[in-house]
Symmetry: C2
Subunit: 332 residues, 2 copies
DNA sequence: TTGTAAGCGTTATCAT
DNA sequence: ATGATAACGCTTACAA
């Protein structure tokens, strides 16, 4: 400790933590002293005394794609960046398929290890949110469903994004438009589906139930679905995908079947992953500000935990990036 | 607390932590009691009392690709998985280009926030390692350079991998083989370069200095380099890349220049990223067990921190996955 | 403005 | 085998 300065530890504590009731002379002395002797307050002790861990947790499924999507990595980077600015740390844990997810969340809540939790890949009627609400535990979601409170979520406007993407297909003359959505238990899948349906209905187009499928957000799932799609008598001329990885799989499947993607079939994705521009054909996709989404998640958390007054920005806009995969399809 | 059982907290502590000097009857009573009343020891208090944080940190550059490479995400997942099994948490922080990296590391070391640090993307003469060594702070590296101790690193055999990859090109008849290496300050770049040079020398092939370039591990860097490469009078017939993203950029650049990748020019990458199989041409690449590397990093850390006796497995093997990008090039 | 002292919820060292 | 009691290194009333 800084006893060498002849000051009590309370004064030191107050000086270092920017309390007002400290003589500025004293404060300088303390700060300089700390500097010189390389004094660093012990993080754990601070946490115990203050009752706050200054850790925020995020629990990721160790198996699936989410951890791997390049877009999501950037979201994480945004979160971590912003938290670090306010001396908070991000704790990343994975939960495997073998573990009881609710239990993992419960353990986090009750251990005092984290002050708040991020929830990603929100699900319809998400049990994780129920749990956190029940325990009055601070959380921020990446994802939205009716009933989420404005201080607790960030999302892109999935419905609008896929409404516009579908509309674009319609404007290009497509009539038979399929949508390979993400797993149906996700809130984003529901929203995107609504956007798709809205555009189709507005244009008074038939919606064949076979054209609306769900699969994991990866290449192989999309390949399988595409094959069933293209085997239909009434096969689609345009296939919308829930992300760029799926679009990649769809492109691949079409080729295997002898259809030229981007020529015989229009394809579009979501996320603007790094590789999408290098795909052949390059992938028409939906772009959004991944880093900003992450930062916003952190801000909302800080609003809750530190009574910060960051302006709430729930919804992030998207933009269609037109590339080859859906640009040159002559619709018969 | 469990006072309701009429036991002192020391007894409760001992019972819960599996100490030998506790009556088994008592232990059962305590464990059941804890179960029933949902008692959870406070993580922060444990940490303060024991002097250990049970957190391991990893500091990632917020800007570059590393955070984004799909391979690396899996490494992270492996780390987190294994740590969680032993009740350790992974703390992920990012350091932006604006911040003083050494300072960020120093703060971590001295704050008591983490008991150990992972170092990734090791650099030649890595200052981070110097710092940690100086402070006798536990660390484990992903990467290797002469002098690293066996208990402190995990790596794939980069030299061998690129030796074999280069050799493969030679066996296919290539004589002018270029190598787009990663930034030259990384240990992996040095090792890979050595592998490349070894194979070239063994085959007594000319090594044009123009054929050996460095760039960031992304598409655009590789594109630029490829263009300079293909403008050479003595242009290469085979281009090896330090990862699959670079290979993607190289493919794209070749096409732009009117060379058919996989036909006019052989191209290969490293990492077996998800998209590589869907590229056109699909990318010949080097695969390794990403999850296992992550788990091994965690094990080495646990060896240091908990005196675990996990068998040390420093080197991870690689395997060439042959695909189209380097398989059908007729060498003149 | 500064100091004193109690407490945060554990672990660890003694006795008993 | 169990219980007091003192740390652990801070924060935070409350006193001075």
């Amino acid at each position: 400790m800084l006893a060498s300065l002849g000051l009590s530890k309370s004064t030191v504590s107050r000086a270092l933590n920017g309390y007002a009731d400290v003589n500025e002379e004293t404060r300088k002395k303390v700060i300089n002293g700390a500097q010189e002797m390389g004094y660093k307050p012990n993080a754990t002790a601070k946490r115990l005394a203050s009752g706050k861990s200054r850790n925020i947790g995020i629990i990721l499924p160790s198996s699936n794609q989410l951890f791997v999507s390049s877009a999501f990595s950037k979201v994480l980077a945004g979160v971590s960046n912003m938290l670090a600015k306010f001396d908070y740390q991000l704790i990343v844990t994975t939960v495997s398929a073998l573990q009881d997810e609710q239990q993992v969340y419960f353990d986090f809540i009750t251990s005092g290890l984290v002050d708040g939790l991020f929830i990603v890949r929100t699900r319809i009627n998400d049990e994780r949110i129920c749990l956190l609400k029940k325990h009055h535990f601070p959380y921020v979601c990446y994802g939205f469903e009716q009933g989420y409170e404005a201080d607790s979520f960030v999302d892109v406007d999935n419905e609008q994004a896929f409404y516009l993407l579908t509309k674009r297909q319609i404007e290009q003359g497509h009539v038979r438009i399929a949508f390979l959505d993400a797993p149906s238990n996700l809130t984003l899948s529901q929203a995107r589906q609504q956007g798709y349906l809205k555009a189709m209905k507005e244009a008074d187009l038939e919606i064949d139930a076979h054209w609306l499928l769900n699969a994991e957000l990866n290449e192989s799932g999309a390949m399988k679905m595409t094959k069933s799609l293209m085997a239909l008598a009434h096969r689609p001329t345009s296939i919308l995908c829930a992300d760029d990885n799926m679009a990649l799989g769809t492109i691949s499947a079409c080729e295997e079947l002898g259809y030229a993607p981007g020529v015989d079939v229009a394809i579009a994705g979501y996320g603007d992953y790094e590789h999408s521009i290098y795909s052949k054909p390059s992938i028409t996709t939906i772009k959004y500000d991944t880093l900003a989404v992450g930062e916003e998640m952190a801000k909302l958390m800080l609003n809750k935990l530190e009574n910060k007054q960051f302006k709430i920005h729930n919804w992030y806009s998207t933009e269609i990036i037109v590339r080859q995969s859906d640009a040159n399809v002559a619709v018969r």
